[in-house]
Symmetry: C5
């Protein structure tokens, strides 16, 4: 039944990729293994180094080119695209003092959103959802915040950071604030990127509700199931994000300064809004299932009712006809001149009576 199979695209099972990519039980912690799939041709390191007055933006080849940025007073944002170059990662880890466990989590791109606090740096994992090939898929974005540097790691080229880059280039507030503000700006961009995703869900739900009212088919059911599945995926990305933001806001200086905290609180508000809507959509999807089941059953009832009425109408009539089809030699009615029209009359009267009865009962 390939036609059916094709019709139903539920998206991949929540957590499926997690399982197939989870590390083997018992391997040493901190072991760096590249992710199974290479999703960009070559690993690229993009650097933006800026102060209130200066801006240096380029693509570097190796870790050693990064060392001057690390030691400068300006804010440095290092964005790494592609994760399969384990050596480069190890080099970065040593140069910036990143914890091996955190680096391992960068490569195992199936983490739950979380914030890990190390002695002199923070490690954040966040999720980025994208609809690829008709399926809702989630990428991992890893972010390190050290004193003066932000390092972000991305498996693919597309990211949600273009607007932030633009703001840095334009030289507004972000240029004169520290690395924590930059980290905030990046996290905020990731959080706000859920709004368009939610908008898509809203559209899907509205389309489904229209479908439910007009003409629910079996595909409607599959779509409702699909949307519930996708909302589970969404929820798994969104719930822990809130905790991450709470924990981020609570970090003390020097990593997170007092002035940045108010912005993080604002970002937290957005995360709560997203969560709130996700839960509302889940409630709506459950409600739609109820309506679907009820409408399908109503429609079936309608079919059965009209048809059964029809059958019930003709069954007594057929009986009457059958009576006068009997071959008894002594059936006085058969010889009567007006017998035939009388039987017609009787049959019409019975039919009319039944119709009136059905009508009164509201079955027609």
């Amino acid at each position: 039944m390939s036609r059916r199979g094709k019709r139903l695209r539920l998206g991949s099972l929540p957590g499926r990729s997690l399982l197939s990519r989870a590390k083997r039980p018992g391997t040493a912690p901190g072991t760096l293994e590249p992710p199974p799939e290479r999703r960009v041709e070559e690993v690229a390191i993009q650097v933006m180094d800026f102060g209130a007055e200066t801006l240096d933006e380029k693509t570097v080849e190796g870790v050693e080119e990064l060392l001057p940025y690390r030691d400068s007073d300006s804010v440095t944002w290092i964005h790494v695209v592609g994760l399969h170059d384990v050596e480069l990662l190890r080099g970065l880890g040593e140069a910036f003092g990143l914890h091996p466990l955190a680096l391992e989590d960068v490569l195992h791109t199936v983490q739950r959103p979380k914030l890990d606090v190390y002695e002199d740096h923070l490690f954040l994992v966040l999720k980025r959802l994208e609809v690829r090939e008709e399926e809702l898929q989630s990428d991992q974005v890893s972010l390190f915040l050290t004193r003066g540097c932000v390092l972000t790691f991305h498996e693919t080229k597309g990211d949600d950071f273009d607007a932030v880059r633009e703001r840095i280039r334009k030289g507004n507030r972000i240029r004169s604030s520290g690395a924590d503000y930059l980290a905030y700006a990046l996290v905020d961009a990731l959080v706000d990127a859920f709004f368009p995703i939610l908008e898509r869900f809203g559209e899907r739900i509205e389309a489904l509700e229209d479908e439910l009212i007009e003409e629910p088919t079996e595909e409607t059911l599959e779509r409702i199931h699909g949307i519930r599945r996708d909302l589970l995926t969404l929820r798994r990305s969104v719930w822990p994000q809130r905790e991450v933001l709470t924990a981020f806001e609570r970090q003390e200086p020097p990593l997170v300064r007092e002035s940045t905290r108010v912005y993080l609180r604002d970002c937290y508000d957005h995360a709560v809004q997203i969560l709130d809507l996700t839960e509302t959509y889940r409630d709506l999807a459950t409600g739609m299932l109820d309506v679907y089941l009820s409408r399908v059953s109503n429609r079936m009832n309608e079919v059965m009712k009209v048809l059964t009425v029809m059958a019930s109408l003709f069954i007594p009539l057929t009986f009457i006809a059958g009576v006068y089809g009997m071959n008894f030699q002594h059936m006085p009615e058969l010889g009567l001149e007006w017998g035939y029209p009388a039987v017609w009359g009787l049959m019409i009267a019975v039919a009319a009576g039944l119709l009136w009865f059905f009508k009164r009962k509201g079955w027609l």
Copy 2:
């Protein structure tokens, strides 16, 4: 199927407006952008400045007219209707020391109710529900409380503050209390405005329950779904409101004085009552769905039962008639004088037997 489409007015999807009006991911925080829709012709600034003995009420044109009020010792309430004049807002922000992030939230009128604490002022976002064009819609009311001043922002002209204005004019307790008491009075008016909304829900639920008992139709189902949707919208406005009031009550002097706290606790009680009823109504709506499904199924069963009984009655009779309609040459019964009435007798006996059986089984 426009007729159906028209029948079902579910109200707008919860959170829909939020999504379409949410800021673009990655834009700088504190960017002031006017809301997409201009809902009043012109921005109006209404000022009420009062002390125990004095009352000054007027409409001003620009921010500079407000400066004397700001610096006076009396309590000043500045009510801004219409949000599209970004310059005016920026001016107000500078004059009263309002935080840019808060001002941004005033303009993005899709916030969740919340309370943000800034160094020397509080920022509250609350919701106001209104039934407009047969749909339950929510407006945002933003409120700033500084030392001596309350600023409120409203997108449209209609508001829930008329009774408060009246109380100020009449010169009762509110005149001799501070700005925190004024803020309380405004928040209280907003919270209490949910009661009439809930009353409407109560009426809708009672009407639906009557409908359920009398004659549930497919529209009843749609109405139940509609009410559950609207209750989701209501709940999204009501839940966070409670937390806002808890946080408000916990603020320390000088912004919120001890004497006002007891009033805020009273207001909090009302918010809890509203929340409580909302949840009760949600439970009721779920219960109504169960009753609906059960009643529809019962009614279908009734139809099927009566009709099937009728069919079952005539099927054996038709069979008997069919037997004596056979054309065998040697059918002794056919030649009997009393054959025909005997068959009638048989048929009546069978019918009576079946009816008795159905009756005993309780199917009639």
Copy 3:
């Protein structure tokens, strides 16, 4: 369809009275407005003043008669029946230093159970359920505890305090304890009064379960819905009561003495038992709905099965009769002497075969 309408008495919608009696949004706090309905002819003030050795019980006319009691060292219980005399209430408030907000809540008899702590007195609101005119209705009981005095307010004459009065008259422990112990005794009487209410629910549930087993009708469904509604009402009264008692127990001396606390804990245990049973009954009511739906569907299935079996039995027989009712000139069977009995034999064999088949399948 008045017959139906009469059959279904769901009781009033939970919270309905709350809404219709809620104060108008924006009115000043502390405004004393009499409740819309006057439920006793005249307001009566009953006083019991007692010490270990003394007991003074009478009905007074005005507030000034109460002043000596207020200032004495004995414990005074002032019980006010009827709420429409606003002046009297204001007088009481002034005489005993009651907070205006609390007095307002006494009159708005739609409060949720709560405990408000004022500087030198406590204010408790509790609920009293009663089945009036076949409907579960809730009255509000307001209680003030000051140093040495307890004031209770009741809208109607009937109350749950008779046993407490008896104990005071008999002069047992209650006479030698303080006002806090009296307050405890009154609250305890109110809490324990829920047990008979719950007993009624238990009886209703047992009757419904019997009905479910014997002969569930459509009214059974309505009764289940009704009981779930009433349990929602009950739950709204019972949940906050627990919190009230926790808060009451936590009050410090001088209002609540250490020795009374152990009694309050006992009372709290009862409140938890009531809550526990309420939740259990809600679970039972949900379970009953499942059983109802299943039983109704089973009964329908039974009807359909027997009837369809009957129809299926006669349809092939009627076909056979129809075959030999055809008028072909060349039908050899028709001329056979034993044709007619043979057809009867065939028909009986077919019927027997079908019956055997249905039997084996377990459909008979």
Copy 4:
């Protein structure tokens, strides 16, 4: 319908006994009233007094015989069977300094499991479930722990303490530990006694699951409802027990010594296991209801399908026979020599075609 009535034994309604035995609202706290039913002939007091080296076990008649034990240094366990001798109880209370409220709860044997802390003794109420007369019934076990003495109260003779008695006689660790260890041992015996109860539930669930797979009948539904009800009863006994154990472990010396605490923690672990299983069984019972409903509906569908297929098969054939049973004078087919076999051929072809069609659709 006595047959039905007998079939369904749901066990008594959870909380039913509580309600009928609850004290009358408003009676004085600490009033000792015997339980309504006398469940043993005579009240018996069993004493075990032991130290590391000594053991004295006997049955005493009155309170005064107990006084020497009370004042000795050895550990004394006083086990009272039967509760109707109120005087004896009052005597015990005075002799051992038990709080009147606690004594009242001993007699009102409908308490929720709880732990009350009094100045120099603890009072524990626990539940003991037993299947009596095919119904799950719960008894109350009350336990006082004073310095050096444990008092237990039981309404009936059977108890779960035999193994503890054996341990005391055998003279193991329990002999050289204090009263708190004895209390632990008794509580532990009560908690562990739930395991056999749960095992019975497990057996009932497994039997029901087999029934569900083999041949679900209407009684299966009643059994599922019955098990859900009994699980509600079980849950009401098990939930508060956990809190009791947590509170017990937290008591300070001298009543509970540090060394006993580790044993109480172990006992707490068992209580959590019991709770955990109870919740798991509730989930299973809900799952079984889904399976039941689905299986019943599947079986009905099977019946309907086969029967409707049969009907649909013969209806067209009967129509064909009917056509050639018409009496038109000019029906050329009737005169044909091969008309009759041709019609048979046609009918067989139609039947075969329909069967093929139904087969292809998977309806046979």
Copy 5:
């Protein structure tokens, strides 16, 4: 119905083994009784003793051979396979100072995952799931952490520790860390071993979803019920594991050093991921049940619809044929030359009309 019985393999009831193996109520705590089943031939003690530079790996016979390891400074891992040698266990307990209650729990292999803190050692119980004989079964792994030693107890030979052994042999980080790091490594191996189990669940769910779309049968229902049951078992193992890890991380030095804590936090993250997926799968399984019920009902509806349409088509035609099969002497139509074809025409017209009507209604 053995065929059915064989088809449904639900796995063993959650908690069943717990109940049958739970200790008898009232037995003394710390009583060592071997588990009822002997699952390995002989008890084997495997020792790995290592420091940064040294590694000693062998199998010993008795407790006395272990004493030198206990007293050395190196880290010792003692892995005991098989639990039926109670004497050996008692010897180990004495030699390493293990608490008798903990040893008892080692033997009662039905514990919930937990962590018990004793004065100088920790006791952890964790679960290991395995699919044996088509059923999901859980083994208990007990782990003691003392200063310098880790003792693990396993009922069967197979374990999840091979990768850890390999890491010790290879001499990486684990060799130079303390006993707490070894304990972490073992716990981490156990936690990660849930990922393959979850992967199996994922595969089962995906297979079930395909089955749901293609051709849901009654076995699909049983499989859904089976997966829900197994998820309950999984959940019972996974939930408490999280708390165990939280508690483990919170232990103070010397048992758990600061440097190991970051690894435990990482392990905790994995446990949360596992829990998270378990809950997601439970939601999915519930969703699948809804889809199953809906699909089965849809398929039935389809059958009924087509068949009923067919019946409704022929019933009026059979009636018409019946009319002209009547034997009235005066039926003018019968004598008409074109009567027979006219009736055919009428019948075809009626059939066409009905088909058109059904088509328009969307029932074909």
